[in-house]
């Protein structure tokens, strides 16, 4: 896979949680390849179980296909592939988190969706420079939890395909 590394990282700090009035932020947590990720809860429209997804031929590999969500067509993005991880084993069920970006709905396919966590901003920190470059591209920062880390995914960078070189 020859996905460009030169994607837009800087242009999407908008999702970044600046220190606001409240000390706590809510995140929908999800796991991908046994790693913990989070998306700000207000960005999430729906959480779906296994869905019938229509494949879209000739689409970039990360696009898993399209699905029908209450009469709206939602584009499914396989977050694993987007993050440069291995393809999910076929037998394993997937779940997805539906987000809106630029007026379009996208369904982010992940391994499983967990609970909503309320996290203290003091545990938040910018991406450490040692983070996997691929992850760093799509992450806004990380939270230190008890014994594990939660990577905050940037929805905007995940769905910004304009910077990519055609990998198909």
């Amino acid at each position: 896979m020859s996905i460009s590394r030169e994607s837009s990282k800087a242009d999407d700090q908008s999702d970044t949680l600046a220190i606001g009035s409240s000390d706590y932020r809510d995140y929908v947590t999800m796991s991908i390849a046994d790693r913990l990720f989070g998306i700000p809860v207000l960005k999430v429209q729906d959480v779906l179980g296994q869905q019938a997804i229509t494949r879209v031929p000739l689409a970039p590999p990360e696009v898993a296909g399209s699905l029908n969500l209450r009469g709206r067509i939602v584009t499914a993005i396989d977050v694993r592939l987007r993050l440069g991880l291995d393809r999910r084993e076929n037998a394993k069920a997937s779940m997805s988190v539906v987000v809106e970006h630029d007026g379009e709905l996208y369904s982010l396919l992940v391994d499983s969706v967990g609970e909503v966590l309320s996290l203290n901003v003091k545990d938040y920190q910018r991406n450490p420079p040692t983070l996997n470059p691929r992850l760093r591209e799509f992450s806004d920062g990380i939270y230190r939890l008890n014994g594990s880390l939660l990577v905050v995914l940037s929805v905007a960078s995940l769905l910004n395909f304009s910077g990519r070189v055609d990998a198909a």
């Binding site: 019938a52 229509t54 494949r55 879209v56 031929p57 000739l58 689409a59 970039p60 696009v63 296909g65 399209s66 699905l67 029908n68 009469g71 067509i73 584009t75 630029d102 379009e104 996208y106 769905l159 395909f161």
Partner: protein, 1024 residues
Amino acid sequence: MDDLLSEFLTETFENLAVLDVELVKLEQNPNDMELLGNIFRLVHTVKGTCGFLGLPRLESVAHAGENVLGKVRDGELDVTPEAVSLILECLDRIRSIMGDLEATGSEPQGDDSDLIKRLNAFADGAAAAPPAAPAPAAAPAAPSSGAVVSLQSIRPGKTSEASIYEQIGGMGTIDAMIEVLFNRVMGDLRLKKFFENINIDHLQGRSRDYVAKIAGGPDSFNEADLKAAHARLCGMGFNDAQFDAFAGHVQAALNTLEVPATISAMIMGMVFSTRDEVVGRVAPGEGVTSLQQASAAAAAPVEPVAVNPVAELQQLVESVKTDARTDKQAKPVEAGDSKDSAVANQTIRVNVDLLENLMTMVSELVLTRNQVLQILRQHKDSEFAAPLQRLNHVTSELQEGVMKTRMQPIGNAWSKLPRLIRDLSHELKKKVDLVMIGQETELDRQVLEMIKDPLTHMVRNSADHGLETPEERRRAGKPETGKVTLNAFHEGGHIIIEISDDGRGLSLAKIKSKAVQNGLASEAELESMTDQQIQQFIFKAGFSTAAKVTSVSGRGVGMDVVKTNIEKIGGTVEMRSTEGKGTTFVIKIPLTLAIVSALIVECSGERFAIPQISVVELVRATSNGELKVEKIKDTPVLRLRNRLLPLVSLRELLRLDSSETTMNEDTFIVVAQVGTYSFGIMVDRVFDTEEIVVKPVAPILRDIEMFSGNTILGDGSVIMILDPNGIAAHSGQMGMGDSAAAENMSKRSRSVSEEVVPLLLFKAGDGAPKAVPLALVARLEELDRATIENSNDRWFVQYRGQLMPLVPMDAYQQISTEPGRQPVLVFSDREHSMGLMVDNIVDIVETRLNVEISAATPGRIGSAVIAGHATEIIDTGYYLSQAFGDWFGSREEDTAGRGRRLLLVDDSAFFRHLLAPQLSAAGFQVTSVDSPDRALALCEQGETFDIIVSDIEMPGMTGFEFCETVKKAGPWQGTPIIALSSHANPKEVAKGRQAGFDDYVAKYDRDGLVHTLNETLSEIRGAA
């Protein structure tokens, strides 16, 4: 805002839009009286309506404008650009006042006296010239003014009448009075003769002006008219009975307007007081003086009737005014529009939002219906079946009906353009001609709204940046007047709008330097780009090559915005430009954003929708049936009714899993058509058709040109909608105005005019590979050698119930007698077929033909380099004549070509050699030349022909120009010309007809050509 006012605004805005267009037309045809009358009426209506609604500012502006128009109509003023500009300015002022009115609900403060003064001065400036108003035109003004003569005569006694005009509600009220009266009078047989040969509009205007004047309103009345009218009346003998009849109408008019009895009695008294003078008992010879004296005298009998006439009059005026306000419904019917009212009653105005809602609901209804039908299919014997069928039909009809309400002709979006171009041409000192074709093309309202602004912008750009100044054009050898052409037409469920100009075109050098300057590309990058790619830079933000920003263009809105807006509605913009020749933009937009009918197919377990509109037929191919898919090297083809249909495998095209059998024995073929190009799409299964709601695909998928959208089916699943245009473009054919295809095209050949021909390559005999244009081959056959029979040194085979002659490639070629299969190319013509025996078929290639002629071997046109090998192009005509001595002879009786002289103009030696034998075989005496110049030289030498067949794309003079030249003048003017082109799409055909071609034939359509020739010639014979 009350309903009345908003209705007025809508109506008046519409009227203003029409006026803009009509005025520009008038400027071009100053003598079109009908047009002028129409304009006058429209302005008049605007003015009248303003009066009724009590909008003095609007009314006074409109009235001043109407004055000028009135003078123009009466021939006192000429239609000059100044006059038109002034009227347009007046309309603009009305529009701007109305804009405020719309925003605030009341007329804005402001002073229009300057504009009114100029309008009046303009009107007067010419009015000072000898009054040209024809006498009869004003004639029956007298009866109506009879009443007002008296009115005027009582004025001197009082002082406060000046306010009457304003109290009355201004011109509007007077109009109503006059119009009611005229409607009645005109319908009276007794009075009819006085109106014969008279311009009623003019008369009405005069009468109104007169009443306005004596009521203290604007004085635009011409005394001479009154005199003339009186003279005419006296001359024609206006008698007592007629006077009574007229008076009766005045009374009735007053009644209609519900004037209180006392006041109307008083008015009638005034009218009767003028009896003597009007019926000519006062000596006619005394003319005006007698009239004025009489009117003065008439004042006397009035006095006793009403003690305070002015007070009463004002009361009357009040009552008329309230009447006019409250009884708005009755008024338009009463006052003149009676002939339109029937139509008006057939239409209602509906809020657009309501329609949009309806549309959404219907879309949902359709989807729900689809779902229900899907369920029904699983329960065959349901008792719901019948009612559901009914529901199905009603839903379809409802959907159709609602769709129709949303369709509007594209001309609506263009209505502002003539005015725009006119103003532009004045401002920029350019001569611009706007040609609009296909105004009636209908498209969805929603789409129409969205392209309005981009279109306006592009037309403005074309006129401003595209066209040169007259001097520049003269220097470039072009006509001074530049042309901007708008052309709209339907194609395959899309609307194509072309905006072209014949201006300077895009300057590549300028674009390059600008691109470098803006950091969009480096010099090196530009070097590697094609001209097409460089031109695309103008769609980038902040890119304008105009050296100076005029007030017209360069308002910070660039082509990038245009492009974004069009893409928003699923459309595309393409651009072609030739420096020095002009620029053409092609906008392709979907007809509607709503529902289409589509065929659902399956391939590799995935379902797809193909828009029904581009599907021609469905064919099932089996391995052992009549129809089967054959492969010529790697290219699958289907023999379908004597044609070889190129096939596209959806599986390969979409790179679907081919884990199943690689080549299915049974396959369904969807025959699709894009423009004139037909091709088959191979799929695994075909389901039924379904109504689908087209939804645009997500931005990330938008680059995939195979899909035009996606949709949700009745069962709730999402499927992709295939775009036949995209597939055609991808399969190597030039899709209409498609960017990828255009790029493909420019990669393959820099010059589009060179033709790409699909050729069938084969081997036969010794030596080089051979080639023949694929279009000439009817079928490919492999015959069992055992079935080949020899008789009289010729080979035959029984084929489809007939004896088909087989011809070897070379006479000395040994026909193999070993058992096996013999590949044969079948050429077919009507009931005759002939087989050319070859060794093996190699491939189908698409290439440009560059034939170097070698006449050495019979049966060869020449050699060309194809796929890297020197290849001989065979002359099918030669083999046809070998197979049948009478190949064409048997048809001689039904050809009109016998002995007819035919001129063939084609730059390609290949086609000349291909066509000439065929045409001469059809009985024509063929003369072929390689360029229009040669053809014109023959014309000068005095040669004559019965018919000319000309290619379109030729270097130097094109076929269009050639045709125009020939048809313009000279001895060949009457000679029919038939165009021959490989791009026979509807647009080209239309262009050809415009240039004067009598017919248009696709290049390989031999039968079609002979048929057209015969038809054209017999038409001429029939006409002669």
